[in-house]
């Protein structure tokens, strides 16, 4: 645990108030309290051993071997050499599809004499919105880095797709009975040990623009590269802070918004939504208190006898507090002409 702070690359000092130890303590405390919801709180702090990929877009020449390798690793249709050489695919901007989990797009940002190729796929967020959103836990953040999908749990509600700020999960709408959410798996099966396997795309890259390693090391490496070649890179590691940080980190020769990377606030989306939800449900105290208020109101306003004399309503219920108004009915008109006056109950 002592090495933790050392391994943190630059920029990680401000990664939030929770240290890993404090997080574990919190999780332990929550377990003792027995609140099932909080023990499963999303991983907020990156594991120092978590694996990541650094993508150096200055090196990519758009050969799309990573795409082919991904197809092969996932058992999809393989593009042949001719298809890979066909540069016309770059004429339109593509996006990952259920049978194509990673995509290389070409951009021509102003001020740079050559095109920039950008590989995109699931970024495997540090604090993923899809994991927070999935109501049955079919999306899971592995401490080793990957965000793993388990189709056997999935209901197919597609809330993960709504929640993902990068719009990366795709859905197999064409499968009638067993559609799955498809996204980059980081080359892990649902049960495989993730930290050992180098993703197929990383292995396949002939230009070595993909680098697989510990996230903290890669961040350090990325900042070193920027410092050594300040003219070649924009001073920004995309994924260091975006949406709370991602496992895929990018270096680019052009501003990221010009090469199709959305601007993102540094907080992960689940932080706000979970804070509100766990506030409303804090150990079930507020819902139970609300039940108690309702029950108390019910008790206090019960009729004294079986006559039509309801007692004055208690001030507990603010929303539909009926003004005490015995004569108001008579004063006001009635909406329906068939009204017949005071036989309020047909007991």
């Amino acid at each position: 645990m002592d090495t933790f702070t050392q391994e943190e690359g630059p920029g990680w000092a401000d990664r939030g108030p929770l240290s890993r130890r404090a997080f574990i303590k919190l999780a332990g405390a929550a377990t003792v309290l027995g609140t099932a919801t909080e023990t499963r709180a999303t991983l907020r702090v990156v594991d120092p051993e978590a694996m990541a990929v650094l993508v150096d877009l200055t090196k990519c020449n758009g050969c799309r071997r990573c795409e082919a390798a991904c197809q092969e690793a996932n058992g999809f249709v393989l593009p042949d050499e001719q298809e890979l050489a066909d540069k016309s695919v770059f004429q339109q901007r593509r996006h990952p599809q259920p049978q194509q989990l990673t995509i290389v797009n070409r951009f021509e940002p102003p001020g740079i004499d050559r095109p920039v190729y950008a590989k995109i796929n699931c970024l495997h967020c540090v604090d993923p919105a899809c994991v927070s959103a999935c109501l049955v836990g079919a999306m899971r953040k592995d401490p080793g880095g990957p965000v793993i999908y388990d189709p056997s749990k999935c209901m197919g509600c597609r809330y993960c797709m709504v929640a993902c700020p990068f719009e990366m999960p795709t859905y197999e709408y064409d499968r009638v009975l067993t559609p799955q959410v498809r996204k980059c798996t980081f080359c892990t099966g649902a049960d495989a040990s993730p930290s050992q396997s180098v993703p197929a795309c990383v292995k396949a890259c002939p230009k070595e623009c993909l680098l697989y390693g510990r996230r903290s090391d890669l961040l350090q490496r990325a900042h070193e590269r920027i410092a050594q070649h300040p003219d070649d890179y924009v001073d920004h590691v995309y994924g260091e802070h975006e949406a709370g940080g991602t496992s895929w980190l990018y270096l680019s020769p052009a501003p990221f918004e010009q090469i199709g990377f959305p601007g993102m606030p540094p907080t992960a989306p689940p932080r706000l939504s979970e804070a509100i939800q766990h506030g409303v449900f804090a150990s079930f105290v507020p819902p139970l208190a609300w039940c108690a208020v309702l029950a108390l109101t019910m008790h206090l306003t019960r009729p004294v006898s079986d006559e039509k004399k309801p007692a004055a309503p208690a001030p507990g219920n603010g929303r539909l507090n009926p003004v005490s108004r015995p004569a108001a009915d008579a004063a006001e008109g009635r909406p329906i002409r068939h009204a017949t006056g005071q036989n309020a109950r047909t007991v």
């Binding site: 919801t37 929640a163 795709t170 009638v176 939800q277 019910m298 109950r345």
Partner: protein
């Protein structure tokens, strides 16, 4: 007596054309259902990688919002003991029961793996960080509460039945055993409803970059709770006015008069929250330039809130049934449009591209489900003691 009137009203010869039209729409819905379940989502819907949620989700959340009348009337009549509302409780309960049931049917059609719909029941799969988990659990609990609250309606009808003596005896047992817990059910129903009506809004809080600033707010859950209460009251009023001949002689008209006075107050509070939130978050800046979102937002606020608010402030409107019905229908439409805005029209995918427009099958199935809801309402209201006050038959 009211029972007979209701039966006459629902089965009467004068309404046959309406009934036939509803059955035709139900048939269209069945075709849509076959299309979806046998050919898949790709063939039957226009959902895409950019728009994972569509019309069926909008219809789901709208039905649930309009079904809020069930818990609102139960709360007023039984928790605040306003007895004149009792005549409205059972019609609203039936509306809520059918609304939630139909929402479940629509949800099943929307889920890619609908056969896993029970998964949130398994503790091993609980994921308490998810807003949808809360929605799912609460909907299941509330549906159970609704059916339990509804059980007396069925049992009263058949208790002591000579034609089915065994069933009649069972009904008597159920009646006797539910009576002591009915208060618990009512409190639970109100509490659960408040929780999940609000969490339906909370669902979109996780996607601030995808929901238009006119609707996204951290307090979306509060907005949803308020609009559900308003929409539920409006629906209860419309349903009561549609069956007004059968409600004749009960206290329902008085309760309606009272509700029609509360509704503008609630609308004013709601619009104050909406506009206040807009000012605090400065989302009014996104009102210009004019786009589809700003137009639907304006329609939602003006037609759904401001117009009925102004209408209902006038005593003449509240006294005139057709004007009152129009104002209530405006409120209902406003709530539905709000749900459509949050889950569809105001949803902005990251990538550019064509807007999602529901397919014919999506429309057909939705319309079919709503037609089934209306048919089932009429069928049950004609045959069960819905339009009578609760203790009417028990005390006989």
């Amino acid at each position: 007596m009211q029972q007979d009137k209701m039966r006459e009203l629902c089965d009467g010869t004068g309404r046959h054309y309406g009934q036939m039209a509803l059955i035709a729409l139900l048939g269209i819905g069945l075709i849509g259902g076959i299309h979806r379940f046998f050919f898949g989502l790709e063939a039957s819907t226009n959902l895409s990688q950019r728009y994972p949620w569509g019309l069926w989700i909008v219809a789901d959340v709208s039905l649930i919002a309009l079904a809020a009348g069930g818990f609102v009337t139960a709360g007023i009549a039984h928790i605040l003991h306003r007895h004149r509302y009792e005549a409205l409780v059972r019609p609203a309960l039936l509306t809520a029961l059918l609304g939630y049931t139909c929402a479940c049917v629509l949800l099943a059609a929307d889920l890619g793996r609908y056969y896993n719909i029970w998964h949130p029941l398994l503790p091993s799969m609980w994921q308490g960080n998810s807003a949808l988990f809360e929605v799912g659990m609460c909907v299941m609990c509330y549906l159970t509460v609704l059916y339990l609250e509804f059980a007396p309606c069925v049992c009263e009808r058949f208790a002591g039945s000579l034609r089915h003596p065994t069933f009649g005896r069972c009904c008597k047992v159920v009646l006797r055993s539910t009576r002591p817990v009915i208060s618990v059910l009512i409190v639970a129903g109100v509490a659960i409803s408040c929780l999940h009506q609000s969490s339906l809004g909370h669902v979109m809080v996780i996607a601030p970059s995808k929901l238009h600033a006119l609707w996204w707010t951290p307090v979306l859950s509060l907005m949803f709770l308020m609009s559900a209460v308003i929409g539920g009251i409006a629906t209860t009023m419309v349903v009561a006015m549609a069956s007004h001949k059968a409600l004749e002689g009960s206290a329902a008209p008085q309760a309606l008069a009272e509700l029609s006075r509360y509704l503008p107050i609630l609308l004013a509070i709601y619009v104050a929250f909406k506009l206040g939130d807009m000012v605090i978050r400065q989302s009014y800046r996104t009102l210009l330039p004019v786009s589809l979102e700003t137009v639907t937002f304006a329609v939602e606020i003006v037609v759904g809130v401001i117009v009925p608010l102004l209408m209902l402030m006038s005593a003449r409107v509240r006294r005139t049934p057709w004007l009152l019905a129009t104002a209530s229908a405006c409120v209902m439409a406003g709530v539905v449009l709000n749900r459509a805005n949050v889950y569809w029209l105001g949803f902005r995918p990251l990538r550019d591209g064509a807007r999602y427009v529901p397919s014919l099958t999506e429309w057909g199935f939705t319309i079919g489900v709503v037609a089934a809801l209306i048919l089932a309402w009429r069928l049950l209201a004609a045959r069960l003691p819905i339009i009578t006050t609760p203790r009417h038959r028990v005390s006989d």
